[in-house]
C-alpha cells in the first residue's frame, strides 16, 4: 500500500484523482460516449449513474485502458496520461472491480488475490506470506474472507470482496466499481458501503457505477449523471433528492408506487404441495414449500438471494428434480414432464440469470425470440424455419418492448443488460402461457426499462395470467404483488398482503425470525 503523503487538502481546488475531458467513443454509428467531461476529487465517493446503455461502463473501460477513446484526454493525479492498456492505469494507482468477476475457481482466495504479482521466496510462491497479507488487508477494510478457501466454493458476495482485495494489493488509490451491488444481498451491500467509506477515510478515491438511486444517495459524495452517452450533470449528493436524480437520469418522472388493480381471483393454476428439493451440493434447498397461484394474481416471493428461490424456480421449470412433494400446473404433475412439456403445458419462464438460461448471447435477437417455439407454426413447417415470419415477429417485438437495437439480426451480446432482459420478456410474455414464472425481472435493468417491465407484468395479470414473481427487491414486490411469500432457508416463513406490505415484518421473516402471529392476512 502506498501511504498517503500529507493530509488530504480539501479546499476548493483539491487535487483531482481523475479528470476526463471531452471523451468520445463510437462503435460504428452508435455513439457510446459523447464529449464527456468527468472530474473526480481525491478522497470522495463519486457515483456515476445512468440507465443501461447510457455509457457508464464504456466510460470506465476507457479510463481503465480497456478501450481507447476516439477523442478526448485523460489526466490521472494531475498528469496527462495515455492509458494504452490496464497496466498503465494500474501503475497510475487505478483499480477496477468489474461487473463480471474474473477469478480462478480452483485456486485459493490468497492465490487469486496475488495472481500476477505473487510473493516469492527462492523462486517458489510463498503461500504463507500471501495468506498472511490477504488476511491483514481483509481485516483492515472489513472484507471478511478466509484466504485459504477455494474460490469455487464461495458465494458471489465473497467473490466481490476478493476482487476488491486484488485491486488493493496492487496498490490502487482510486477504485472503480462497476455496478457492485447488482450481485449483492442488501446485507452485503451495506457491508460493501462500510468498506467504501473506510477507503475514503484512508484518503482513497472511489468511483461507483450504479443505477440504484437509493444506494447512490446513501453512499456517494458526488453524483455524475449520464444519459444516452452524454453527461447531464455533476452535483454534490447532498444538494440532490431522489426525484431530481430520476428526472436527470431518464428525463421523465418515474414512480415506484403500488400499481392499481382490480381484484381478481380465478382458478388455481399452480399448486405446490409440500415440495422439497436439494441444491447442487445435495443439501436441502426447499423444505416443505406449499402455496398456490391463481389466475389473475401476482404472488411474490421475497427473500435474501440464496434461500431457495433459485431452486424453486428450477423445480417449477423442470430443471431440477423435486425430492418430495408435488407441483401441479393446471392439474398436471410437473415431475412427470420434461422442461419442454412443462412449457407446452403452460409455463413461461423468465430466468433469474438471463445470460445463462435466458439467451444465447451469440445468436441474433430474432433467433433468441424464436427459441422454444421453433417447432411450431408459423415459425416452421415440416422442420424448415420460416425466417421471414421469425424476423417480422422479432421486429414487431423489438418495437413493442422498446428494445434498443439495430434490428432483429443484431447479436444479443451487443445489447445492454436491460435490453437483453427485454428480449427474454418479449419472448416469454408472448407465448400464450397461463403461468408466468418471473425471476428477478429487473435485475441490472435501468429505471425506464423497469417501469416498462412492471407495466407489462400488470398487463399480463389483467389478462388473467397466474404470475409467480421472485425478486430480491422489496419495493418491486410491494408495487406488483397481490400476496408476498417470504422465504428463508428453503421454507416459506409467512405471507403478507402486497397492499400496504409491512417492510419491517417482511424484513424479520427474511432474516429467519418467525413473524409475530397476526390475524391471517386476507390474500
Amino acid at each position: 500500500m502506498v501511504s498517503n503523503a500529507g493530509s488530504p487538502t480539501l479546499h476548493m481546488k483539491a487535487e483531482m484523482a481523475v479528470a476526463l475531458t471531452g471523451i468520445t467513443k463510437r462503435f460504428g454509428a452508435f455513439v457510446a460516449n459523447d464529449g464527456i467531461d468527468l472530474a473526480v476529487r481525491r478522497g470522495e465517493i463519486h457515483a456515476i449513474i445512468g440507465e443501461n446503455g447510457a455509457g457508464k461502463t464504456t466510460l470506465m473501460n476507457i479510463l481503465f485502458g480497456l478501450l481507447q477513446p476516439d477523442e478526448g484526454s485523460i489526466r490521472l493525479n494531475g498528469e496527462e496520461t495515455v492509458v494504452t492498456d490496464p497496466a498503465v492505469a494500474i501503475k497510475a494507482g487505478l483499480g477496477m472491480v468489474h461487473q463480471h468477476f474474473k477469478l480462478v475457481p480452483s485456486l485459493s482466495v490468497a492465490d487469486n488475490v496475488f495472481l500476477g504479482m505473487e510473493i516469492r521466496r527462492h523462486g517458489m510462491i510463498d503461500h504463507a506470506a500471501q495468506i498472511a497479507r490477504t488476511r491483514e488487508l481483509s481485516k483492515r477494510f472489513g472484507l471478511q474472507v478466509d484466504p485459504t478457501e477455494r474460490v469455487g466454493l464461495l458465494s458471489v458476495g465473497i467473490e466481490q470482496r476478493i476482487e476488491i482485495l486484488k485491486v488493493l494489493v496492487r496498490g490502487a488509490r482510486t477504485i472503480i466499481l462497476d455496478e457492485p451491488t447488482a450481485v449483492l444481498t442488501p446485507q452485503e451491500s451495506r457491508e460493501l458501503f462500510q468498506t467504501l467509506r473506510s477507503f475514503v477515510a484512508e484518503g482513497m478515491t472511489v468511483i461507483f457505477i450504479s443505477h440504484h438511486l437509493e444506494e447512490v444517495m446513501e453512499v456517494s459524495d458526488t453524483v455524475t449523471v449520464l444519459r444516452n452517452g452524454k453527461k447531464v450533470a455533476t452535483r454534490p449528493t447532498a444538494e440532490l433528492n431522489k426525484d431530481e436524480l430520476v428526472r436527470m437520469m431518464v428525463g421523465r418522472e418515474v414512480s415506484f408506487d403500488r400499481r392499481p388493480r382490480t381484484p381478481s381471483r380465478g382458478d388455481v393454476v399452480l399448486d405446490v404441495k409440500e415440495l422439497w428439493a436439494r441444491d447442487d451440493r445435495r443439501l436441502p434447498a426447499l423444505r416443505d414449500v406449499s402455496f398456490a397461484v391463481r389466475s389473475g394474481e401476482v404472488v411474490g416471493i421475497a427473500g435474501v438471494a440464496g434461500n431457495g428461490q433459485t431452486e424453486l424456480a428450477e423445480v417449477l421449470s423442470g430443471l431440477r428434480p423435486a425430492s418430495h412433494g408435488s407441483a401441479r400446473l393446471k392439474g398436471r404433475d410437473l415431475a412427470t414432464l420434461s422442461p419442454r412439456e412443462i412449457r407446452e403445458a403452460g409455463l413461461a419462464h423468465v430466468p433469474g440469470d438471463r445470460m445463462v438460461r435466458g439467451v444465447d448471447r451469440n445468436a441474433s435477437i430474432a433467433a433468441n425470440m424464436l427459441m422454444g417455439r421453433q417447432h411450431r407454426a408459423p415459425w416452421s413447417s415440416s422442420g424448415v424455419l420460416n425466417w421471414t415470419a421469425i424476423s417480422q415477429n422479432a421486429s414487431r417485438l423489438i418495437k413493442d418492448f422498446d428494445i434498443r437495437a439495430q434490428g432483429p439480426g443484431d447479436a444479443v451480446k451487443r445489447l445492454s443488460g436491460g435490453n437483453i432482459q427485454k428480449v427474454v420478456l418479449a419472448r416469454e410474455f408472448t407465448n400464450g402461457a397461463d403461468f408466468l414464472l418471473i425471476d428477478q425481472p429487473t435485475r441490472g435493468v435501468d429505471i425506464g426499462a423497469q417501469e416498462a417491465i412492471h407495466d407489462e407484468i400488470m398487463r399480463q395479470r389483467a389478462a388473467g395470467r397466474a404470475i409467480l414473481l421472485i425478486s430480491v427487491q422489496l419495493d418491486e414486490l410491494a408495487a406488483l404483488a397481490d400476496r408476498i411469500l417470504v422465504m428463508f432457508n428453503g421454507r416459506i416463513m409467512g405471507e403478507v398482503a402486497g397492499d400496504g406490505a409491512d417492510e419491517d415484518r417482511i424484513g424479520m421473516m427474511m432474516a429467519g425470525v418467525a413473524a409475530p402471529e397476526r390475524a391471517a392476512e386476507p390474500a
Binding site: 497496466a87 474474473k102 480452483s106 485456486l107 495472481l115 500476477g116 505473487e118 510462491i125 447442487d280 412427470t336
Partner: protein, 328 residues
C-alpha cells in the same frame, strides 16, 4: 499359483516401470497443454518424430545423448508449428493435431525410404542405444528387488522424477500457476496482464520437450531401432489419460502405471501362446475400463442431468422418483 508367480514378479514390475516411462513422459508433456487449456491431440506425432530423429541423431553423431537431443529438437519443431497454428492463428486444435500426426507418420516413412532406402524399420546402421544406469549399492541394499530402482535408462528416471517436480511446478511456481490460470480462466489471466499467447507457447514447447524424450525412449531405450508408426497409439492413450485426469500429475501417473502394467502383462501373456492380436488389446481395454470406472462417479453434471431426464422420459413408471432413482 505357479503360473501366477511366473506372471507377477519383480521382473514384471520392472517391466511395468519401463513400459510406463514413455507414456508417462508424453502424458506429462500433455499435462502442460491440458492445463493451459489446449486439447493437444498431436502428442502421437510429436512422439513419433522424436523417436525417428533420435535414431537419426544417434547414427550421425554416434552418441545416444546427442540422438536424444535430436529427437527432442524435432518434437519441439512440431510443438512450435502446433503452437503457431493453434495459439497464434487460432486454428482448430483437433484438426491441427490430427494433421501433424498424419504428417509425422508420412514424413518418417518417406525419410526412412529416402535415407535408408528401406520401408518398415531401421535396425543397425550403428544406432547407439541409451546406457542403463546401475545405481551403486542398489543390489547390496535391496538384493533381488534391486531391478525395481536400478538398471533403467536415464529417461525412465527422468519420467518418474518429473511427477513430483510437476506437482511442485503447478503449485509453487509462477509459471505453473499461470499455465493453470490460462487454462481455467483465460479472461482472468488477460485482466491481470498475463499473456495467454506466451503462456500457451511455453506450455506447447514444454509438451514437445517431454514428448520428444518419450519418443527417444521408444527408439533408443530398450530396443534400438525405429519402426514405422512406432508410437503405436501411446500418444492417443496419453490424451485419454489426460482427459480423465485433467492433467494432474499424480492422476496422470496412476493412469500411466495402470496402462504400463497392462502393457507389460500382455507381453508376458504372449509368451503363453495366446493370440497376439487379442493380447495386444489388453492394455488398452484395461486402461479404458479403469478410466471409465473412475470417471463414472465424477461424470460431468451435463451427463448426469441428461441421464436423469432420459430416464424420466423413458419411464411412465411412477415408481421412479424425479431424481431418477427408485425409492427403496
Amino acid at each position: 499359483m505357479e503360473i501366477l508367480d511366473k506372471l507377477v514378479n519383480v521382473a514384471l514390475i520392472a517391466a511395468t516401470l519401463r513400459t510406463t516411462a514413455p507414456i508417462l513422459l508424453v502424458a506429462l508433456g500433455g499435462s502442460f497443454t491440458t492445463k493451459a487449456g489446449i486439447f493437444n491431440i498431436g502428442l502421437e506425432g510429436q512422439m513419433l518424430v522424436g523417436a525417428f530423429f533420435a535414431v537419426i541423431g544417434s547414427i550421425w553423431t554416434g552418441s545416444a545423448f546427442a540422438g536424444v537431443a535430436c529427437g527432442v529438437a524435432a518434437a519441439l519443431v512440431f510443438a512450435l508449428v502446433f503452437a503457431v497454428l493453434v495459439v497464434s492463428f487460432r486454428a482448430n486444435e483437433v484438426v491441427v493435431g490430427l494433421a501433424l500426426n498424419i504428417l509425422a507418420g508420412g514424413m518418417t516413412i518417406s525419410l526412412m525410404k529416402a535415407i535408408f532406402g528401406t520401408r518398415g524399420s531401421i535396425v543397425g546402421h550403428g544406432i547407439v542405444g541409451l546406457p542403463k544406469v546401475q545405481l551403486p549399492g542398489a543390489r547390496a541394499v535391496l538384493g533381488s528387488w534391486a531391478p525395481l530402482i536400478s538398471g533403467f535408462t536415464p529417461i525412465v528416471y527422468v519420467a518418474f522424477i518429473a511427477v513430483p517436480l510437476l506437482v511442485l511446478f503447478y503449485n509453487r511456481t509462477r509459471l505453473g500457476l499461470y499455465i493453470r490460470v490460462v487454462g481455467e480462466k483465460p479472461e482472468a489471466a488477460e485482466a491481470l496482464g498475463i499473456s495467454i499467447t506466451r503462456v500457451r507457447y511455453i506450455a506447447s514447447l514444454l509438451c514437445g520437450l517431454l514428448a520428444g524424450l518419450a519418443g527417444a525412449h521408444l527408439s533408443l531405450g530398450y530396443i534400438t531401432m525405429f519402426t514405422e508408426n512406432m508410437s503405436s497409439g501411446r500418444g492417443f492413450m496419453a490424451v485419454a489419460i489426460l482427459i480423465f485426469s485433467n492433467g494432474d500429475p499424480l492422476k496422470v501417473l496412476a493412469g500411466c502405471l495402470l496402462f504400463g502394467f497392462a502393457d507389460a502383462f500382455s507381453l508376458r501373456l504372449q509368451t503363453f501362446g495366446y493370440p497376439s492380436y487379442l493380447v495386444l488389446t489388453v492394455p488398452y481395454v484395461v486402461a479404458l475400463t479403469a478410466l471409465f470406472a473412475l470417471s463414472y462417479r465424477a461424470r460431468p453434471k451435463v451427463i448426469t442431468e441428461t441421464l436423469a431426464s432420459m430416464q424420466r422420459l423413458l419411464s411412465t413408471d411412477k415408481n421412479i422418483g424425479p431424481d431418477g432413482k427408485h425409492p427403496s
